[in-house]
Symmetry: C2
């Protein structure tokens, strides 16, 4: 849909927008990771010619947060700053230069406090905690299924892993342009969730939601990083109101690194018990997340840490213990995979070790324990369609895994791993009974078809999916269909772009709206057979236009589903990945030769978009595996807040990706489709780790797999020590006694 306009530079992003009389806003940020604000004097800044408005924390005192349970942020710090880069004040001026000079004129006095900069420090808890209630944000302890393993274990293994934090690195820096029209706030923002942002703006400004309009222009990449409401959204809005003029704030690249909300650093521990023949009997998964200074989506991440292991593997008895701590660093939040890539890395690397010790092939061990389709998992998730077995077999076959594993020369290796992700959450962030997506279609007198969807295309191609779904039902070429998207005034409600929900939910709403339109047109033309365009002209004769609606709400029980239970998602995607690598033991450098990827997409609505998503996920996953580190100096400063310093995969380093699409035709998905935006990232990292072991005999139990760490592991190997880089054990966290949730409740029949 948008390929051409983006390719030629015509697409409009938030920072491309300019309005007459528009001011430029800038944000003053804390230089301290942890400090009390003693005083803030803005008088000199206010009197600088060209400065039109200045705001401090007192001007925006209402706390908020994306989750109802984590309303722990204010747009500007009130009494304390909790990370370097935390917004403290904001100014709007005639030019960017004047705004920048005004920031320098704001006198801020701080009383620095000892910062909490690591998980260890957060758990130890010396000095003043990050938040008054302590450094522990959330601890979850759950036991699913049988209280004890169904048979006596013959083999048990325990491993520890660490997944480094990293950030989204969208090409577009965040930008927000606010204006007020007769007491109504209009905000253009590079956001993934215009309707949630509307809710937060309404809360902070004390307005009814109807008095706020949020428009997402083209968004240049989100990956979860544009999901939270941000200080720049609120400051632009406040400054625009105070100055009586439009105000735009566009972040610098450095500021984007401090906004963050990216991947949580995770310290993990996994213990499994088995029969010698390779049947999994029980699993205990422990995770400790470094959350940064605020809640963001962290509570969800804490649950997701243990959530999706059982969609790929049958686990009779499953214990999950997960905690999130506050630290004096930029807040972590949702990044592609949202709390599942870290445990997936731990699980799949752990399985590689188990397989080796049991003398089984990694593919065989996985096949033996695969979760079946149309079943309820031990943690009561409803799996409907699943092409997982086909994914495993096709990926193994196409990569030649069985012929290559443990047979390639020293320095070359192949690894295997699985993944799974949800197709949106079954409940919205703010619980209510409304549909999660609505789509409206208007047929105009001149034959135009316009689709209105609140879904937000952040580059992932949801605009294309919505239009293609309508085109398919109406039988018209997609080029004939216009789309209006992501504008809370113009488009019907949609939860937004997160949880891989858009294709499944907005796609279903689009399909239903198109079916309803077809039905209306058919009724008005007396059911005569004729081309749609002709029928449409007849149908709109009377009113000059015709409208139809469609909506989607996850069903309590999906169509054709034989099992029971309540799941967090109406469906799950599945995938298998084989990674082949070539390692240079002298330099520690790893070249990925080829990724073979089989993904159960349900049904590919627009094949090039699906392929693009998988290739994009592989690209991002390899960046996380080998290069990316969102890490900080002891001063609290980011170690490399710029594209030159923060290393990520360049296109020249991208390996060949061999794609296999499995179409399991999900009974609840639009045309059978499922997600592809996040799931494909998951198996790549452990597949690469397993391949490095196959190549060099060293275990990379910690990301990123840098040359330094590979050389360190090789050195340990050559000294006869454990050939591995990774954490030891697991910190002593005061987890509560796990709540036990049995696999089946009284009266339920669980088929698996």
């Amino acid at each position: 849909m948008d390929a051409f306009s983006k390719a030629v530079g015509r697409a409009l992003y938030a920072d491309d927008l300019r309005l007459p009389g528009m001011l430029y806003g800038k944000i003053l940020r804390s230089p301290h990771p942890h400090a009390r604000i003693l005083s803030l004097d803005t008088r000199q800044a206010e009197s600088l010619p060209g400065v039109r408005a200045v705001v401090t924390g007192r001007g925006l005192p209402v706390p908020y947060g994306i989750l109802p349970v984590s309303q722990d942020e204010t747009a500007l710090a009130m009494e304390k700053v909790r990370y370097v880069g935390e917004p403290v004040a904001a100014v709007a001026a005639d030019t960017e230069e004047t705004a920048g000079r005004a920031l320098q004129l704001i006198r801020a006095e701080y009383d620095p406090l000892p910062p909490v900069l690591s998980l260890e420090e957060a758990i130890r808890g010396k000095g003043e905690p990050v938040h008054a209630k302590g450094n522990l944000h959330k601890a979850v302890s759950l036991k699913f299924g049988d209280a004890n393993p169904p048979e006596e274990p013959e083999y048990t293994r325990e491993d520890a892993f660490f997944y480094e934090g990293n950030t989204h690195l969208p090409l577009e820096e965040h930008s927000a342009l606010a204006l007020w029209k007769k007491g109504r706030l209009v905000l253009y923002s590079s956001t993934q969730t215009p309707f949630h942002l509307r809710k937060i703006l309404a809360k902070v400004f004390g307005l009814p939601e109807d008095a706020v309009r949020v428009i997402a222009p083209k968004v240049g990449g989100g990956f979860g990083g544009k999901l939270d409401p941000f200080a720049h959204d609120l400051c632009a809005s406040k400054l625009a109101r105070d100055a009586g003029r439009p105000v735009k704030i566009t972040l610098t690249r450095e500021e984007v690194f401090y906004c963050h909300r990216g991947r949580h650093p995770a310290w993990m521990n996994i213990r499994t018990s088995w029969k010698k023949t390779g049947e999994l009997l029980e699993m205990r998964f422990r995770s400790c997340l470094d959350g940064g200074a605020y809640g963001s989506f962290g509570v969800v991440c804490t649950y997701y840490q243990g959530g999706l292991q059982p969609t790929t593997y049958r686990i009779p008895s499953y214990t999950v213990e997960s905690a999130r701590y506050f630290t004096n660093k930029p807040p972590c939040g949702p990044k592609r995979g949202h709390g599942t890539p870290q445990p997936r890395f731990a699980l799949e690397a752990h399985l590689d070790k188990v397989a080796e010790e049991l003398g089984l092939g990694p593919v065989e061990l996985r096949l033996k324990n695969l979760a079946p389709p149309d079943s309820t998992t031990v943690n009561r998730l409803r799996v409907t369609s699943s092409g997982l077995r086909e994914c495993v077999e096709k990926a193994a076959e196409a990569s030649g895994f069985r012929d290559k594993f443990r047979k390639l020369p020293y320095g070359r290796g192949i690894g295997f791993a699985l993944g799974s992700y949800l197709c949106g959450a079954a409940v919205p962030i703010y619980w209510n009974e409304d549909p999660h997506s609505r789509v409206r279609i208007r047929l105009d007198a001149k034959g135009g078809i316009t689709v209105f969807s609140g879904a937000t295309d952040i580059g992932q191609g949801s605009d294309t999916v919505v239009v293609w779904a309508v085109a398919e039902i109406l039988g018209v070429p997609p080029e004939k269909i216009r789309l209006v998207a992501a504008d809370t005034d113009r488009t019907p409600f949609d939860l937004g772009t997160y949880s891989s929900r858009v294709t499944y939910m907005a796609g279903n709403a689009a399909r239903e709206a198109a079916e309803n339109l077809l039905e209306k047109v058919y009724r008005r033309t007396g059911g005569r057979r004729m081309p749609f365009e002709k029928a449409a002209r007849i149908a709109v004769e009377k009113e000059g236009a015709l409208e139809s609606w469609g909506s989607y709400k996850p069903p309590l029980k999906p169509a054709n589903f034989k099992g029971s239970g309540v799941g967090p998602s109406p469906a799950y995607s599945f995938c298998a990945c084989a990674a082949q690598v070539q390692c240079d033991p002298r330099t520690g450098r790893v070249r990925v030769e080829r990724i073979t990827f089989a993904h159960d997409i349900g049904r590919a609505i627009h094949r090039p978009s699906v392929e693009g998503q998988i290739e994009g996920a592989v690209h991002m996953a390899l960046g996380e595996a080998f290069l990316e580190e969102q890490t900080f100096h002891p001063s609290g400063l980011h170690r490399g807040p710029g594209i030159l310093d923060y290393k990520f995969l360049s296109s020249l380093e991208m390996p060949e990706v061999k794609l296999i699409l499995i179409e399991s035709k999900d009974p609840g998905g639009p045309f059978g489709a499922k997600e592809v935006g996040q799931g494909p990232l998951l198996p790549v990292i452990p597949a690469v780790a397993n391949a490095i072991y196959d190549a060099l005999g060293i275990r990379m139990d910690k990301t990123p797999f840098t040359p330094e760490n590979i050389l360190l592991a090789l050195e340990r190997k050559s000294c006869g020590r454990i050939p591995r880089v990774g954490p030891e054990g697991f910190p002593d966290i005061p987890f509560p006694e796990p709540t036990h949730i049995p696999a089946s409740l009284p009266g339920e029949t669980v088929p698996c």
Copy 2:
């Protein structure tokens, strides 16, 4: 609705818009009033760095015109230029300066032809005619009612008048910003008729109408001057397509004078026959219009010249002869009053002379011959509501006319005149069966009410009328209602802003849409009594939004109308004006002391807007009466194409206006409302002329009433010559034999 945003400078006009990568367009215009184009060499311009596209006539060869019968223009002159300022070529460049330099590099060779610069020259027809078919554009000869007067006339009088051409002078210069999106053209233009402009763009670019989107941003005054499609609309579109980038063309003030499409200079002759007691027996009205170089709306003007006299006065036998000639000057077109202010000036000044000679008061003579309400005029117009008698009586009373007429001291005087105008045309410009206006209302899940209307607010306040009509029906405050207007993609069809049609037609459609919405909401809430906002929330629960539609199409027979016939409008406004002046016989300067104005508005939907329209019309009328002249040097150059040279009334010269609103409650108007945008201009000019006669004893039979002309008439008076300035007789025009249309057709009953 828009007062605040306009007052503080936040409203966005077309020239306020900027897009990334946008180019600036400029138009090369002819320096000759009449010439053949020998060659156009754009090579040097094209090679100037920064120039991105150049277009000449060959690039936009499809002829067009606002009326289907006058498709006589091309965006750029093809073989001949026909007026100074006619567009010849256009360029788009990175900056305005570069575009300007590029224009200078275009080598155009012309073969000048003798120009036709006056009506006399056009009629005489020496040399090459303006168009191949000759200089006569259109001639109309019609005879209405009785073939002969019903009684033998006892008194007959004939007078000649001249009404000078003048132009609209909107505060906003025309501007157009074009971009192409996937083969679709999007044009932001300061237009009064987005849907007509869409039609023309589709024609010229060979696109389906659905592939063109026209948006009218805020328009800074139109008065008819932004009704035609313009070269800058088409050139911006073409240049944007060729350059692959957005292109904006904003006219300079000088260019606006050459675009023109304003008031036709009219040479008129009127002859009436009477009984001595003051009963009008017959009238012959002749008019000859100086049309400029192209058709524009001229054919309509030709008909309008004789059209509206019978809505104010009973005329048993009525002959109209009207012609329009082409001249080598900027094309004339529709300006506020659209072909009726000139004949109204002639008629009302003529009646003042008749009354004096018959020894009757001017008010009494008029009252004696007033056309009644609920009647069919001699030219078969259906008059429904008419508060004309009340207007006459109230204006006479409030101005103290009877006490002052012929009784004020020398130099001071009072004059009286009537006016009438239509409330939109009964048939669209392009004949079809569709409604003339549609309005859509959307009720959102969050309680928002959005009204979608294609009507275009050009400063006259139609946005306010549409919103107020909806607010009235729904019973919610207007501030709670949002409006989306004048966007061919987003809003339903509306013919546009002309013929004073918007309040009557879009207002009716808005009323019906609101009634339909109320009905839907009522049905979904089971008819329980509750506040609208609560009922609305219940009503949208299921679909998340609710839509309703309303439309308006002039009825063949208006409600409660007892007469018959087919009229050009569903209703007529009426007004009466008394002007009191103070003249200085030494300088010829006239100061208008007070205007007393009674207007039959039907029903005032928004009183401040109605008052603003009347005051604005008085302001413009006094400008036309005393100052404005769109006239040309023998070279074809405008005599004063700038705001300093083209004299118009300043706010300091504005007299006190005493307003009386008569509410005759038209049976077909929304809430009884009728038009006020154009009608009030009509009686002001003759009332002033009659007042000057009352003050000084001189007849100003030619506009404008400049000090020079007043001194000239005074000089003639002092020399014993006829104390008058105006034309003699009427040119010898080959009018065809008048077609006779009797007042009643067989089987019809005509009450008046």
